[in-house]
């Protein structure tokens, strides 16, 4: 029987020790009316060979279309070493390092992860991971409300150019505590600074901005950060870790730097994998660390005075503080954080910079080839990183459908979330989408436009 080692002799001997005559007796405290007839709907067991064949055929059916969608998940090359090591049994099948002495591997990895994230963002301390970028953003908002003692507000001012699904998730997660998001509108594809000026003097717990923004553009983060601080708000930075290899980090935004940085760690060696598992990160200034959600690893000394690692500042957490914890999070995304750590260690700053530069160059190339087609133009003049908006002369949906039939995933249709942008398409070319791929996309797009013309 799969995954159960008991022989008939074992069972007999074990039942004897428990003083019962069958396994069924062991369930005799379950009141009879609650008993289930069985699990017929589950069906018969498949052997390993059978399930392998089934899953392979399903995977094959899905195929591997050529993907130019970004919008929060990016198709970077993942070095083979990353998951070869991350899926070693000792990492894969361990749990939260409650017994520190028997978990130094996981603990040291997380300490290194924290160090790398702090380094990338230019801030002081990181936690051990959150579920994903969206929940990391929501937790950052909650944290900001707790940490901002100067503000009485339960409102966060959020750039409309911040990932729409992040804003939706935050709305869901803040709602119960009566915290709300107020939108800072768009102007020319970036935050509207005039609208911001008009809000001066209003009380917000925090101001949140994404760099590069959901639309791919680079925001004037210094001005936004300084505005936040001038108005008694904390500054929350939502950032892409690949971009941080080349862009000024949150710790250096404005005069004082952002207070909290968060985001999605998926670009760091994590496959797109239909949306997860990814890894959220949250980094902040030292002063507010005790408001952090989630686990944190610290370095300390053992009985002999040798250094070692352990979970620390646990008084913030649900298993100690219960209803007054900084968050309810318990299981986080440890293995994915491990993979991200290995990825960052392999690439280093130089490798990550090469990736960032290639993404940027490829996306520029893509934009220029697509915009060369009649009926397609870039609506903004802002610098962008590795995603850009294109304006089409016709509705985006049918264009994407036509491309998809040719095996090209042409980008993200912005019309649902940004109707004000008209027929707008968000495209992305990472370092894995080279000239050949870009030409293939442009050719398909040419056909679609030609065909429909």
């Amino acid at each position: 029987m799969p995954f159960i080692p008991h022989t008939d002799a074992d069972v007999a001997a074990m039942l004897a020790v428990t003083g019962t005559s069958s396994c069924a007796d062991l369930f005799d405290e379950i009141p009879a009316p609650l008993r289930m007839a069985g699990l017929q709907a589950i069906g018969p067991a498949l052997s390993e060979a059978e399930i392998s064949r089934l899953m392979q055929s399903r995977a094959r059916a899905d195929g591997e279309p050529l993907c130019f969608i970004g919008a929060g998940a990016y198709d970077h090359y993942v070095p083979a070493a990353v998951w070869d090591i991350a899926t070693r049994g000792e990492f894969y099948s361990a749990y939260t390092p409650y017994q520190a002495e028997a978990s130094q591997g996981t603990l040291q990895v997380i300490y290194e992860f924290q160090t790398m994230l702090a380094g990338l963002t230019g801030l002081d301390v990181s936690n051990a991971s959150l579920y994903d970028g969206a929940t990391a953003f929501a937790e950052a908002c909650l944290m900001a409300v707790r940490a901002n003692r100067r503000s009485k507000s339960r409102r966060i001012l959020v750039a409309r150019s911040l990932h729409p699904y992040y804003r939706e998730v935050a709305t869901v997660m803040l709602r119960g505590q009566g915290i709300s998001l107020q939108e800072l509108p768009l102007q020319d594809g970036c935050c509207d600074h005039a609208a911001l000026a008009a809000l001066s003097g209003k009380d917000f717990a925090a101001v949140a901005v994404q760099q590069p923004s959901f639309l791919g553009n680079l925001e004037q983060v210094d001005a936004l950060t300084d505005w936040a601080h001038a108005n008694g708000a904390l500054a929350i930075a939502v950032v892409n870790p690949t971009a941080l290899a080349v862009l000024r980090p949150p710790g250096q935004w404005g005069a004082e730097g952002a207070d909290i940085a968060c985001g999605e760690g998926q670009p760091l060696g994590v496959p797109m994998s239909a949306g997860g598992p990814y890894v959220g990160f949250l980094v902040c200034r030292q002063a507010i660390v005790r408001q952090m959600p989630g686990r944190i690893v610290g370095r300390t000394l053992d009985l002999d005075g040798n250094p070692g690692f352990t979970l620390t500042l646990q008084a913030r957490e649900q298993h100690i503080r219960r209803s007054r914890a900084t968050s309810n999070i318990c299981t986080n995304q440890g293995l994915v954080a491990t993979a991200a750590t290995i990825y960052m260690a392999l690439l280093g700053a130089a490798g990550l910079r090469e990736v960032a530069q290639s993404c940027h160059a490829n996306t520029r190339e893509l934009v220029s080839q697509l915009a060369a087609l009649p009926g397609i133009s870039p609506p903004f003049t802002q610098p962008y990183f590795h995603e850009a908006v294109l304006q089409l002369d016709r509705p985006v949906g049918p264009v994407l459908d036509a491309l998809s039939r040719q095996g090209v995933l042409g980008g993200f249709d912005l019309s649902q979330h940004y109707p004000e942008l008209g027929n707008a398409l968000l495209v992305c070319a990472t370092e894995t989408r080279g000239s050949e791929d870009i030409r293939a996309y442009a050719a398909s797009m040419g056909e679609v436009f030609g065909a429909a013309a």
Partner: protein, 484 residues
């Protein structure tokens, strides 16, 4: 046995992996970073060697018995990982059109249906990324339900005193007040106290059954009746589902909403602390409020249910659809178990726990609930030993490491003094359980012979006992480059 920090490999200009830039950036200088982020500069070999060596410093299921109560540390079949990592699944963009994902979506749909069957619920959403997020989804749905009926004074969530910390923490995150109800000495809930606290302010109750005390709450139908009569709903924390697969279900017990920890019952890896998955199931009442997206069948195709088709949904809990890769692993595992295998999981998880409990009782260890059956886990209290020798549950935990066993859960639930919550799971053999008993007996013997020796444990780990107080008082949370 120790391994230096990866930053010790720093050597300016070294690079482990060269992606090759296909062009250089042309970004305006004002946006550019001037400093070099302090990432490691190690060769590929350095990196492989470093993390391989670090991995060896861990205990894990693949190397050690890991009877961590409440966590269901069962074997994680390697094939689940293999199949979840098929290239097409890994390459799938979360926003890719459904036409390019019917294989994946069908799999998710079948997983939803299997979880419905197992939990006795009417609909399932797979999006929550761990148990705690499943709890959040559940309580948020309960609130949404009351709100939708205009019943908006219901702000209290009842939890037993033995509840897992995520339960009260979740209630708070949802803006509810927490009301604790005590447990009786026999491990069941004090139902009179429950009656006393329910009322028009009751949003619901969160329960685990079997409870975190390792026993099956026998009055569950009565509890359901009381809470329902008061207008509240029942939330089932599925952390302990491994004990009842195919025996009973949250649905049969009267629960309205449930989360399932796929990383426990359905054997997806714990990964040193995640990722997990906390899929939620609901009865018909809560169906409109399920978090999106989930998969529905439309004609012959699988499509996403989203904000348009589910206007009353509590909304999204993750940027995309939760931990898809974890869900794939759970699916593979469940299909390999099949109906009979799934029932056997609980048969043998419960047999192992009761056997281990009986063996320890025979050896003279004090059970927290000696009159009760163990569910898939049980509690022993070392109170008497601590009183006699000063050796605590923590000392036992550390000494077990030297015997080659991961420790059980210690000091949880809080109401049993000096407790060990022991969950062997079905995938461990009798031989392993016997060796574990022998280790506990040996440690107790040592406690009486030479208590100080036990307090020195562990001696065979990469480090000796760590100074947690120092860790918290002088937090050293990131490595800083020593001044040159």
């Amino acid at each position: 046995m120790n391994e230096q920090l990866i930053f010790a490999y720093r050597s300016a200009g070294r690079q482990g992996f060269a992606p090759r830039a296909s062009g250089t950036g042309e970004l305006p200088a004002e946006f550019l970073r001037q400093d070099e982020p302090p990432l490691p500069t190690a060769s590929e070999l350095d990196v492989v060697r470093h993390y391989t060596r670090l991995s060896q410093l861990n205990f894990s299921i693949d190397t050690h018995f890991y009877p961590l109560g409440s966590c269901t540390m069962k074997y994680n079949p390697r094939v689940c990982n293999r199949l979840a990592m098929l290239p097409q699944f890994l390459a799938r963009h979360p926003l890719a059109p459904v036409e390019h994902g019917q294989g994946f979506l069908q799999t998710m749909h079948e997983l939803q249906e299997m979880l419905q069957t197992v939990t006795g619920m009417q609909a399932v959403s797979l999006t929550p990324m761990a148990g705690a997020q499943g709890e959040f989804a559940g309580v948020a749905m309960i609130k949404a339900y009351h709100d939708a009926r205009g019943d908006s004074e219901r702000t209290q969530i009842i939890v037993p005193d033995a509840a897992h910390g995520t339960n009260p923490a979740t209630a708070t995150m949802c803006g509810c007040d927490v009301v604790e109800v005590p447990t009786r000495p026999d491990g069941d809930l004090d139902i009179d106290k429950l009656r006393a606290v329910v009322g028009p302010q009751t949003a619901g109750i969160m329960l685990t059954n079997p409870s975190t005390l390792g026993v099956f709450e026998r009055q569950i139908s009565e509890i359901a009746a009381i809470v329902h009569a008061a207008g509240g709903l029942l939330y089932y924390d599925g952390a302990n589902l491994n004990a009842i697969l195919g025996k009973t279900s949250p649905g049969a017990m009267g629960f309205d909403v449930v989360h399932v920890n796929l990383h426990k019952t359905f054997s997806t890896p714990h990964g040193g602390g995640g990722p997990g998955s906390g899929a939620v199931g609901v009865g018909d009442k809560l169906r409109p409020f399920l978090p999106i997206p989930y998969v529905v069948k439309q004609g012959g195709n699988y499509v996403w249910a989203d904000e348009h088709s589910c206007p009353q949904s509590i909304g999204r809990l993750s940027a995309f659809m939760g931990n898809a890769g974890v869900l794939l692993r759970a699916y593979v595992y469940m299909r390999m178990l099949g109906e009979a295998g799934m029932q056997r999981v609980s048969d043998f998880a419960v047999l192992n726990a009761n056997y281990l409990m009986a063996r320890l009782q025979d050896e003279g260890f004090a059970l927290a609930y000696p009159q009760r059956r163990a569910s898939h886990e049980f509690i022993i209290s070392l109170k008497q030993i601590t009183r006699d020798t000063g050796v605590t549950a923590m000392d036992f935990a550390k000494a077990l490491l030297d015997h080659g066993f991961h420790a059980p859960t210690t000091y949880f639930p809080l109401l049993v003094p000096e407790c060990l919550l022991i969950e062997p799971t079905e995938s461990e053999s009798r031989q392993t359980l016997d060796a574990f008993v022998a280790a506990l007996v040996a440690i107790r013997q040592q406690a009486y012979d030479d208590a100080d020796a036990v307090k020195q444990a562990p001696l065979t780990m990469p480090v000796r006992r760590l100074d947690d107080v120092r860790a918290a008082k002088q937090p050293d949370l990131i490595w800083k480059q020593p001044a040159a």
